[in-house]
């Protein structure tokens, strides 16, 4: 055994196949014993070059492309894009369409928060909560499917409005589902705040103070759990939120427990909003005519995704395709908080801290690099090549 220099610190690589999440991201944690002393991040494993691709598609095609940035919060991406393009074209979607957009957005938030609850409970080793919360999440998935025909990528939006109406049957099904979920959420809130074993994993862990949250530019439920009110629905209401004010949920502890409490309490607010929208659904058309090409100009569109503020910058030069579409997703803002709060924590708590911000890597990473199996050379494929490949692939399978 050599007695050379003893390394002062160990570096532990986590990922890209991430043990805590079902999405790829690479973290490097330096540790002193069990305590984290530093952290770095490398993203891009799910980068698909969507911003570049958006410059080569026309305005309508982009709706489908951008909706596929995220499989969890697809609707909110489409909404942000539609609101931005409508602003450029000086068109406003009819009130009924705005209400349906918000209805789907809140149902999406319910599904996203319940999904997060399950994942994070699983990180804590609380698989019973994981199984139950995902069972209940099926209720809202069924509602979304009956409304739109899809469990994910609902494709509810179109430029100038929405594609479908909410029928009386839908309404009854949504009310039934929301009533059931409300009782279940009350139970979960009770569990995550009283279960002694679970609370030991969350109380006082991964604290982000109010000052840190403001300084790091943290947004969404993560900010609201640290006492910072950042909610686009409240601060700069859009679509039907202008008529239906949202009550923000704020906690001040800033630890993981507060992040659980904020998201669960937000579910109650979502249930309330869903009921109000169903009661006060304005009559009228579902869409208005949109010009094929919006005027030249720039528009900024901000919406509140389940994970926080989603920001779209859209530039048009009056052509068939946008000049530039910039997407800034909430995870990018919150990622810095993980790197900072992990320092000084136990390594075993890191998966929970990471899951605590509800990171979404697909949102975050947006070129396509293909490595063919058995072929050491990898090539960057064009969109056309990728399309031809996918068509040939599916033809072979038929």
């Amino acid at each position: 055994m050599t007695t050379g220099s003893v390394p002062k610190r160990f570096s532990i690589p986590i990922g890209p196949q991430h043990p805590a999440l079902k999405e790829p991201g690479h973290f490097d944690f330096s540790v002193d014993g069990e305590v984290v002393t530093g952290a770095t991040v490398r993203l891009g494993y799910a980068h698909r070059g969507i911003e570049k691709a958006a410059e080569n598609q026309n305005w309508v095609q982009n709706l489908y492309l951008l909706e596929r940035i995220c499989g969890i919060c697809s609707h909110i991406h489409a909404t942000a894009y539609c609101l931005g393009v409508e602003k450029l074209a000086d068109v406003e979607a009819p009130p009924r369409a705005q209400a349906i957009r918000v209805l789907i957005a809140e149902l999406e938030r319910v599904h996203s928060h319940l999904l997060w609850l399950g994942v994070t409970a699983h990180e804590a080793g609380f698989d019973t909560l994981f199984m139950y919360s995902w069972r209940d999440r099926e209720t809202v998935m069924d509602i979304l499917e009956s409304l739109t025909g899809n469990r994910v990528n609902y494709s509810a939006n179109m430029l100038g409005g929405v594609k479908f109406d909410v029928t009386d049957d839908n309404r009854k099904a949504i009310e039934r589902g929301v009533n059931f979920l409300e009782t279940r959420t009350r139970h979960y809130l009770n569990v995550v705040t009283t279960d002694q074993v679970f609370v030991q994993r969350t109380r006082g862990v991964g604290v982000i103070t109010r000052e840190q949250a403001e300084q790091l530019g943290v947004i969404g439920p993560t900010a609201r759990a640290s006492g910072v009110l950042r909610d686009v629905r409240v601060e700069a209401p859009y679509a039907a939120y202008r008529d239906i004010p949202v009550q923000p949920v704020i906690e001040t502890a800033g630890d993981l427990e507060a992040r659980f409490v904020v998201r669960l309490k937000e579910l109650f607010e979502s249930y309330r909003l869903i009921r109000v929208i169903l009661e006060q659904m304005p009559p009228g058309d579902l869409n208005v005519r949109m010009p094929r090409r919006p005027k030249a100009g720039e528009a900024i569109s901000r919406v509140e995704a389940p994970r926080g503020e989603l920001f779209y910058f859209i530039k048009s030069n009056g052509a068939d395709n946008p000049e530039r579409v910039k997407v800034r997703t909430p995870t990018l803002c919150n990622m810095a908080s993980v790197l900072v709060t992990a320092v000084g924590q136990q390594l075993a708590d890191v998966p929970m801290i990471l899951a605590g911000i509800d990171p979404c890597f697909s949102c975050n990473d947006r070129a396509v690099t293909i490595s063919k199996a058995g072929d050491a050379t990898s090539a960057v494929w064009s969109w056309q090549q990728l399309r031809q490949y996918s068509q040939a692939y599916y033809r072979r399978r038929l």
């Binding site: 490398r42 980068h47 300084q215 601060e235 100009g297 920001f311 910058f313 800034r328 810095a336």
Partner: protein, 149 residues
């Protein structure tokens, strides 16, 4: 504070460096700056605790203008402030603002790998989104980028 007050406050704080100011929407304020004044302007905003950095957008203004434009978006409530810095293609360098806002690091890394804009003072210059085997000198969001192999 109302949105108008917030915007007025930002405009006053930035007045020493503002070359042009424009309000494209009632809740927005766009201010054009010279890049050398960017850190002072951002520090002035942070000193009065005006909002937070929402995003950094890079724009390639094309072969005719031969310019890039870097937009620093700040948000405070409903108010949205955009600091616009124009730089020539031949001299695509901007100063880093990470000395004032450390969390800007990820946004600046994205800007530099996507547009090939050099960010002076950014400590971590490694790639954030592009793969390890991405060819050097190819910046995908430039308008003249050739992506086919």
């Amino acid at each position: 504070m109302t949105t108008e007050d917030r915007l007025r406050q930002a405009q006053e704080a930035l007045s020493p460096w503002a070359q042009e100011a424009d309000a494209p929407e009632p809740v927005r304020l766009d201010i054009v700056l010279d890049r050398s004044h960017l850190p002072s302007a951002v520090a002035a905003l942070m000193n009065i605790r005006w909002g937070y950095l929402v995003a950094i957008t890079g724009l390639d203004l094309g072969a005719e203008a031969k310019q890039y434009e870097v937009l620093y978006h700040f948000g405070s409530g409903a108010a949205l402030l955009t600091l616009r810095v124009r730089i020539a293609h031949a001299d695509s360098v901007v100063p880093s603002i990470t000395g004032i806002i450390p969390a800007a690091s990820v946004a600046e890394r994205e800007l530099s790998e996507m547009f090939g804009i050099r960010v002076i003072g950014l400590l971590d210059q490694s790639r954030l989104f592009l793969p390890d085997d991405w060819p050097d000198g190819v910046y995908p969001l430039r308008k003249d980028a050739v992506l086919e192999k």
